[in-house]
Amino acid sequence: MTLRIKQDHVRFKDIVRGKIKQNLKKYVQKGELIGKRGKDVISIPVPSIDLPHFRFNDKQQGGVGQGEGEPGQPLNQGDPQDGSGKAGDQGGEHSLEVEVTLDELAQMLGEELHLPRIEPRGKHKLVAEKTRYVGVAPQGPESLRHFKRTYKQALKRTLAMGTYDPLNPRIVPIREDKRFRTWRIQTRPESNAVIIYMMDVSGSMGDEQKEIVRIESFWLDTWLRHQYDGIESRYIIHDAMAKEVDRETFFHTRESGGTMISSAYKLCAQLIEDHYPASEWNIYPFHFSDGDNWSADDTRQCIQLLKDNILPKVNMFAYGQVESPYGSGQFLKDLEENFDGDERVALSEIKDKEGIYQSIKDFLGRGK
């Protein structure tokens, strides 16, 4: 039975979605969303969606409460979820926390940024087989015997034959009683994708730069997850050396050494080689750095690695250059020179948090 109120509920959700879309640019620039992640949902503060009224300034008004405590002691607001009491209503802050699924969020992002849907590579080739038990049949291998159904069948038969004795309820199944699970093989096209994040953690990458990477990677993740069923993320940090780390370490490591980008590209190529055959995976390496590389020599090596080992296997290689006061920003120019017009390479310069919005567009705007 559908409830009458569903209409109003849908209406409300539309309004909320509208609000979120309106403010998406702001959300994209803020990192706060990331902390509030549930498994598949995210809660977003939406600016005042309630109906305004003439009302008192709560801070001036105060009120009456009950319980222990001396004058000067702070108020115990109790469980903030219970909004029944007036005392709990913090005036001024009138935003509403709305839960949105990541899928919905990705959709909004897509609509707002006009992102094309990604066409997975070699989709037709990637077929996953899944075995599911779908029914019960009178024949089958003994190992798949359905105990409960077999017993039921035997019970039925015993009752029907009138041999059932409630005082000695022993049921012995015979062959005709036996029931077995049957299965069906379902095939469905599956597209797997892997995102390989690489980040420069050398001394010149400050907290602000890393924050930008963190925010951007959240949105990239959100969008790509929306596009693919199964997605994996791998994280590589590098200074002069590269190593693979987990997500937590990725965003919180700070090294002080120099920078050799080639080390990361080598590791990335290795990772692809070992785990992600190009015929089965859609591969997305994203690299973030401040554009300062150790030597021109190393840069040459990077370009070689990209050309020979990475680009042929990936859907797209993305390089985001975060501006930092220490970086020369040379690397971006080098890449531009070498890969100008190459469809597989997406380059973006991110000046500050406001640049994230455009950068996401740069990376995802081509639907690869």
Partner: protein, 496 residues
């Protein structure tokens, strides 16, 4: 799905009804229905009614309730509608002992609806009326589109607290008489019985000047409305430039606002009364020994506190019990009030046994404001550990400010006066002689929240169609907030 009461609950209902009657409760026929949590959340989102006009705000309330039910933070046991017959909804998944408790509670509410004087003017067929409203609004939605209608409803809801809740009880204006035509101004002459002296006592040129002045006074345009109008919604309905459907919508929403106002005026009393009765009936009559633990558990849930927040169920219940005890023991009247000896006051017992009679009287003739004003005593405030709180700007938090009886009581009364809403009325509908609407906030010590004020003015402007203003005081100075359809203005003004 049938929502009728299953047979065993029908027996419970008969039993509880009998108990309630035997205690002297006097209620409308009450029809109980059993519904699932989802429907319960829906009905609660609709403010207790099964059908309301389409609007997103119900969806918002539903979202909130559904979420908090899902997370196990709250559940609604019961809902009851002020209607004749009264309708009450029980949650399907309640245990039988809960249903019993809830029925007792409901009979308390229905007795209150029927007997408390502020409910006397409410529409007792509101169930039907609400359904009518829903149909009418839906009709307009079909004709004009949901966006247009909803936008208008939004605006009206923004100002639906600007009504005159007392208008039902007093005559605001003397009705104009038929022959109330302007008459030639009568001039006062100084009396004299000597005809020849008249010219000297009332010189003609002076009299002429007086006459002209009076005529001028009469010709001067009257301010409109002549007296300030508290029922802003009603005023707009009569005088704002509205389409016919808009006027109809405004009319409906105003009617609903007036219908709900008494419930907001008696929140503490109404909940206290219902809680008093479910506790009484259960404890003295209905509770079986095996149900005792569950009953005690759920009752204590009803009267529990969330941190320091005031719980109206608890406050109301304790005040009613306090009144009963005082009138049983005769702790009232001049002799008692004049007694300064604390020990003697505490021991005071005249064995009058007037308690029950008194609380029935109180439930009939009081609202929250008068209830607190008259029955909140120093002893009670101490006993219940009530305190006043305020915002400490320096530390950026709400803090306990005082436990002094007078301050606590004053705070509580201000919080309840005009159900905690600012007192705002129409001062001038032809402000500056340009058809602009000027409202006036009766400042009683607390400023208006400026952001909300701006947003509300926008809603009001969209209805009035000309610039709108509200005169108030902020941080001790008179200030006029305005909105002309494009820009907000704020300028200092004389606040008298």
């Amino acid at each position: 799905m049938s929502t009728a009461l299953p047979p065993h609950l029908r027996d419970v209902q008969e039993e509880m009804k009998g108990h309630a009657r035997s205690f002297g409760l006097d209620f409308f026929d009450t029809i109980f229905e059993v519904i699932g949590f989802d429907e319960m959340n829906m009905v609660a989102s609709y403010d207790g009614f099964p059908v309301r006009y389409p609007h997103w705000k119900w969806g918002m309330q539903y979202e909130r309730l559904a979420k908090s039910y899902e997370y196990g933070l709250s559940r609604i046991y019961e809902l009851v509608i002020n209607n004749d017959p009264s309708y009450a909804y029980l949650l399907e998944s309640n245990q039988d002992v809960d249903q019993k408790l809830v029925m007792g509670h409901v009979y308390g509410h229905v007795d209150f609806f029927k007997n408390n004087f502020v409910f006397a003017h409410t529409n007792r067929k509101m169930m039907d009326e609400m359904a009518n409203h829903a149909t009418r609004v839906r009709k307009y939605v079909d004709r004009f589109g949901i966006d247009v209608v909803e936008a208008f409803v939004d605006r009206v809801l923004s100002i639906d607290n600007l009504i005159d809740v007392h208008s039902k009880y007093i005559v605001r204006r003397r009705a104009k008489k038929e022959n109330d035509e302007p008459r030639a101004p009568r001039l006062r002459e100084l009396p004299t019985d000597k005809e020849y002296m008249r010219h000297y006592i009332n010189p003609p040129e002076y009299m002429k000047a007086q006459r002209e002045k009076a005529e001028q006074e009469q010709r001067k345009p009257k301010r409109f409305p002549e007296e300030t109008e508290r029922d802003v919604l009603g005023f707009l309905m009569e005088h704002a430039p509205l389409e016919r459907w808009q006027r109809d919508v405004l009319d409906m929403l105003r009617e609903e606002a007036y219908y709900f106002a008494p419930q907001r005026q008696t929140k503490i009393m109404n909940e206290g009364w219902a809680t008093y009765w479910h506790a009484k009936i259960m404890a003295e009559k209905a509770c079986k020994p095996e149900e005792l633990i569950d009953f005690a558990d759920h009752h204590s849930g009803v009267v529990s506190m969330q941190g320091n927040q005031l719980n109206p169920y608890k406050l109301g219940l304790e005040l009613f019990r306090n009144i009963e005890e005082r009138w049983d023991k005769g702790q009232f009247g001049k002799e008692y009030d004049d007694c300064d000896d604390i020990a003697q006051r505490r021991r005071w017992d005249r064995q009058l046994g007037l308690g029950r009679q008194k609380i029935f009287e109180v439930r009939k003739f009081y609202t929250d404001v008068t209830f607190i004003d008259e029955f909140l005593t120093l002893e009670f405030v101490r006993e219940a550990r009530l305190f006043a709180f305020g915002f400490n700007k320096k530390r950026g938090r709400f803090e306990i400010t005082s436990r002094e009886f007078k301050e606590v009581k004053d705070k509580l009364l201000t919080q309840l006066t005009n159900f905690g809403q600012p007192n705002i009325s129409v001062l001038d509908a032809n402000h500056d002689n340009r058809g602009e609407l000027l409202l006036r906030h009766q400042h009683d010590g607390v400023d208006l929240e400026p952001e909300y004020t701006k947003a509300t003015l926008q809603a009001l402007q969209a209805i009035w169609n000309r610039p709108v203003h509200v005169l108030t005081r902020s941080e001790g100075k008179g200030v006029m907030h305005g909105f002309d359809g494009k820009d907000h203005t704020e300028r200092s003004a004389e606040y008298a």
